[in-house]
Amino acid sequence: MDIVQQAPILMILCPFLGAFAVSLAGLIQRRWCYPLTVLFTAGSAYAGLGTLIQVLRTEGGVIRYRMGGWEPPFGIEFRLDALNAAIALMVVVVALLVAIYSRQTVASETAGKEGHFYTLFLLLTVGVLGISMTGDAFNLYVFLEISSLSSYALIAMGRGRAAFSCFNYIIMGTIGASFYLLGVGYLYIKTGSLNMTDIARILQEHGLYSSNSVRIGFLFILIGVWIKMAFVPLHRWLPNAYTFAPSTTSCLVAPLMTKVSIYVMIRIMFSVFNPEFVFGVGPRSDLVVWLAVIAMMVGSFYALAKNKLKMMLAYLVIAEVGYMVGGAWLANATGLTGAIFHILADGLMTLALFLAAGAIYYKRKSYNIVATKGLFGKMPFTMGAFAIAALSMIGIPPTCGFFSKWYLISGGIEAGHWGFVVGLLTSSMVNAVLFFRILERAYFEKPELPYEPGRQGKNALNFVERKGVDEAPLTMLAPLWAASLGLVLLGVYSGVVIDFISRYVNSVGFQ
């Protein structure tokens, strides 16, 4: 077995086989689940690194892996180029960090179900990873469903309103996935193929771009992924679902699910179709950019109005989706580069923020913003990492948030879309206010726990305030800091990453 050649499949087999190993281990001894999960995600991350290196070294920068050895349009293939190799690596790294982090949160929030939790965790990773790697439109749907189903379950395992919000998510998610499937069906009916590269070739050769059904198929795929990524006005399901999920789940789902949907959108827009089609005969591109601006505004301002930390972060996810969709629809290379870079950057940022929120919840037993009071004294390391992530969200150099905004704004200026530029800057300002409010509370005020009606009487948690520093355990801090430092590193080395991404962007062929 040529291990280098097989790296792409190993990347996905690690968590896949791991899921079943963990499931079996969970039947025997629940304590084994955590180390096994870490082990398998680490293996996947290692293979991911190998894959990335392979993509870097390959002539033309594309590696293809044929499942079952069948030629692509007949069999399924993994197709990794500059766009998705980086995203796949981001996915496994996020999964690894969350896996390391999950030790205490899973044990405390979903006690007794660790085996199941980690099985679903790994299968969610498989799903998301597969979406980012596959070159087959239908295979993508299967991966989409694996990730969706496991995320439904992971979310519904939460307390409070989790089940209720999960149900809305299921309904919306199913509509989204079905629309995607329908769109793929339309492409299949016109081209007879399911392989993305092959579809692109047939569309080109047979001049199918002017066909109504191809256009409508494109539209359905687009609406489908928009639902999945919670793009305004299809975003209503997201905040509740992410808020009431167990904290480990939100840490995994929030950075991955929306970002990967954006990847799918970009892939369909530019690899299956081409810019000429998308911006020529597709839906009006400036209309979409305006929608993206609305998304930024909605996300940022709703976030401002929320007093639950996780709810606030969930709305920020919606705003960030606006950034990326807007960037991709600016119809120029700079904007697209920004959008792709922001997928990576935002994945890490969201991860860091949710990890911090989870650590705060673990120690303070509350998501209310009031619970962050005085935390610089209580949990200095957690808050330090949180502050770095917040700076990245605001867009302060040298964190990566600054550089992605750099490209997005440049793209906006280049496209002459001033609404997008102003929207982005406004949203950054709102982010500044938002995070500053929290940091200020954490820095200036005395530690205090919020009054919550549900806490009274028998349901009250036995929370004892400890004196002095009361920091989260190392297994939580280490991934949190890794993510935060990753933000800075990604910012510092953004040149290298952008170089890599622009290989893809250049192949797209903007005029």
């Binding site: 469903e145 199913t174 509509i175």
Partner: protein, 146 residues
């Protein structure tokens, strides 16, 4: 116009079904009704796919060994081979004789996915019912507000 309707009736059927399902998913208040809508919706898509693969006058996508019916007796096999060689001589099997197998495969996947989604959704509905004592969306919302 009539031509359009008759020649493409399969598409009209699936559109109608799909719209029924979609409407139920969005507009119905009862969670189980929403789920029924979801099932109709997904079934419509399956119908759509499977109908793509249909060919007039074609049979199921299993290569017919002329009545040997899976009996691998030597004689039968010999006959089978003879027929096959003939077919090959004529330029391989006739693609028009069999319906397209691919949509069936795809929809097998979609069915499984549909079952799985439905199951998970049912479990969630049960949990909602346990928590709020109702499966009507407005009542659940009322209870959440309280």
């Amino acid at each position: 116009m009539l031509d359009l309707i008759i020649a493409k009736f399969n598409y009209w059927v699936y559109i109608v079904l799909m719209m029924i399902g979609l409407y139920a998913m969005i507009a119905k208040n009862n969670y189980i009704k929403k789920l029924i809508g979801m099932t109709i919706f997904q079934t419509a898509i399956m119908l759509f796919y499977v109908s793509i693969g249909a060919k007039q006058g074609a049979t199921i996508p299993i290569i017919d060994h002329h009545g040997d019916g899976g009996d691998h007796g030597e004689a039968a096999e010999a006959v089978g081979h003879a027929v096959e060689t003939a077919a090959h001589a004529a330029g391989s099997l006739d693609p028009d004789a069999y319906v397209n197998p691919l949509p069936h495969v795809l929809m097998l996947t979609a069915i499984v996915v549909g079952v799985a989604t439905l199951g998970v959704a049912m479990a969630v509905v049960q949990k909602i019912h346990d928590q709020y004592g109702s499966i009507e969306e407005d009542e659940v919302l009322k209870r959440i507000k309280l």
